[in-house]
């Protein structure tokens, strides 16, 4: 026991008082910065970045939904299918309906119908149907991690609240490459380089016998 009863409580109150002071002092500091540099504490990228850094003081609540923390590149929420835009603006799916994503999916929420050639009966590398049961998806990201064609990727859009059951079909899941490159620039650049290297190696290998 401390020698004076109430000392510990006063010490604790000192901590809360300091927090109180810090919060308003920060406001004053940012007011000064707003006047001199035009930087604001709230509803501005620099303000949010400051509140997510080690130097933040006082209360550092991010006022969602008016403000949103920027999501890091690796952030994952619900998969989508990547398509390339063809010369006439048609959507060319990267997906070949190989089925690896539906086999690796832990809650088994991916359903794929493979297209087969009606004449030969051989599979065509393009999914006829592609469903993801969004309400069952656990956002683990394994489908995107093990897709050999970079065709299924995890999205950044996390505001998906709905009143009913959400089952996304191929139409709803498809998003252009440009969107993918905008949310994950580093990953996309890495994958593009790897694909280009593979393609170059393939061309070199096929060119050799002719030479």
């Amino acid at each position: 026991m401390s020698e004076m009863y109430g000392k510990g409580i006063l010490k604790g109150l000192g901590v809360t008082l300091k927090r109180f002071w810090d919060t308003y002092w920060e406001d004053a500091v940012w007011l000064f910065r707003q006047v001199t540099r035009g930087e604001r504490r709230y509803r501005s990228p620099e303000g949010i970045a400051h509140r997510a850094s080690k130097n933040t003081r006082g209360i550092f609540t991010v006022q969602y939904p008016e403000e949103k923390l920027p999501v890091p590149e690796e952030f994952r929420f619900v998969p989508f299918l990547v398509y390339e835009e063809g010369p006439n603006g048609e959507k060319v799916m990267r997906c070949t309906s190989c089925g690896i994503c539906s086999r690796v999916c832990p809650p088994q929420c991916i359903w794929i119908v493979r297209t087969t050639d009606p004449e030969t009966g051989r599979p065509i590398p393009d999914p006829a149907e592609f469903y993801i049961d969004i309400d069952i998806c656990m956002n683990c990201g394994l489908c995107a991690e093990f897709c050999p064609f970079d065709a299924i990727k995890m999205d950044h859009d996390y505001e998906l609240a709905s009143f009913g059951r959400s089952v996304y079909d191929k139409e709803k899941l498809a998003k252009p490459v440009s969107y993918y490159e905008s949310i994950r620039p580093l990953n996309a650049a890495r994958e593009n380089a790897a694909r280009a290297a593979k393609e170059a190696a393939r061309l070199a290998a096929s060119a050799k016998p002719e030479a």
Binding site: R103, V104, W111, N139, G141, F146
Partner: protein, 580 residues
Amino acid sequence: MTAPAPVETLDLAARFPGWVTPDSRPGYSGWIVEKDKLLDFARALRDDLGYDYLSSVTGVDYLPEGKMEVVYHAYKTTGGPGVNFKVQVERRDPVEVPSLVSIYPGAEFQEREAWDLLGIKFTGHPDLRRILMWEDFAGHPLRKDWREAYFEEEFKPFKSRWPEGKFQMAEDKARLGDNLSFPAGFDPRKKTDFDPEKALYEALRQYQKTESGLETEHLLVNIGPHHPSTHGVFRVAVVLDGETIVNLKPVMGYLHRNHEKIGERNTFLMNMPYTDRLDYLTSMSNNFGYALAVEKLMGITPPERAEYIRVMMAELTRIANHVWAIGFLLNDLGAYFTPMLYAQEERELILDIFEAVSGSRMMCNYFRFGGVARDLPDGVLEKVRDLAFDRLPRKVDELENLLADNEIIRARGIGQGVLTAEDAIRYSTSGPLLRASGIPYDVRRAEPYSIYDRLEFDVACRPNGDIYDRMMIRFDEIRQSLRIIQQTVKQIPAGPIMAVKPAYQVRVPPGEAYGRVEGPKGELGFYIVSTGKSSPWRYHVRAPSFINLTAFGPMCVGQKIADLVAILGSIDIVLGECDR
């Protein structure tokens, strides 16, 4: 501390001839004990050989061999490798095995769980009731021939998903009412006289006699399952004499989803994101334990850089968990939300790191067999450095200033809810609960895994075993975790992050493995049996939240009812892990 005897030199078969034989199945280790000699064996193991800590009890259903097996893992609290022994019995209904509760009281809940899920009857158990399923449930779901509602196939991946994936919602395939099966002779439309609570209340009532022999009027109070201070859907049935607790029984399973059955349908890799959902506050640690167990079976070790990343993440998880635990203990003491939110702020910054590294704040799914899923993105190491060297030490001191000397916390914490050192071992408690009772037992030191043997840190320990010590030990552990993180940040080497090529179907040789880590809540163990197929044959989680609750009753008896909530808060349970 004497050097622990390595398990290889421990020849139990020579010591107990006729009782014990080595387990010679390929990939297995340990000893098979004769059923009739189990009690004598366990007593000798505890008293003569010093294996005083029974970590895990579970069963395995070897359906093709027509056998059931009970698997025990015992350790010494002075450290060193453990001993693993088994009892095999013919697979009947019900299977009978002697109960070890009289020797290791920590087996109480675990044996109840094995009875509930596997139908192994432990003879001599003082209170053998179902624990996770409800009392009038029929069948034992972890048996291999038991099938759940909405059953599709034995193993994932399910064949309907590809290539002819005709999408059907699960609720359309088996409509409500069609998804139930009843035992023979049971008519759901007829009212039965069965009272599911009767067994519970009867178990409580046997303690109603007082010392003086006077029949006094005791009061039975149910706290929970929907009570804000039980940290989830958890219920305690308490018998009170005035305001003093005479006896109590925790009732759990409200969040039970049979994680282990799901795990046995999943492939090995699919289980990784499911482990996140055990103790959802410490997903990185859960990943760690599971990855260790499977890596033991596969015989691979992750590369150096991956080990450093793993340890860094596991220790950040510990800090995030402990600030949460301290904050919510204060909530339970009645200091609503101010201390909790002060503690929470630092957790937010840690979760930002997890989000950048793994893609998710809480459900990290970051570890892979043989490494981690991806390397640290640019800037993350600097963020960790900023937190570990600058912000967190400062903030932990501030939080301690706020709480440690507070007269109300001291008055309500010191000397309350005491768990003695002997009881802490007997009841198989682990983690901060065990160490606050004066037992410096930490898996990271007792049986080091990963790179912990190379890192400098102390095992936090406090002598009194009361609520206050259990709060303060979490501050000590945060400081030790910061020391570890500081070392990993300084020493982390460059290099690969995976020992093997990433694959979605791993080949796991047949055998058994028990991987255990020092999770923030205590010893988190994964017992895995592989038959060489793509899914584990048996997947068992030794959940610290669940087993720590074994000591909850003894800690509360004699205390006032108002302290029950504080004692529960000081254990720090998460129901996702407790109920599995």
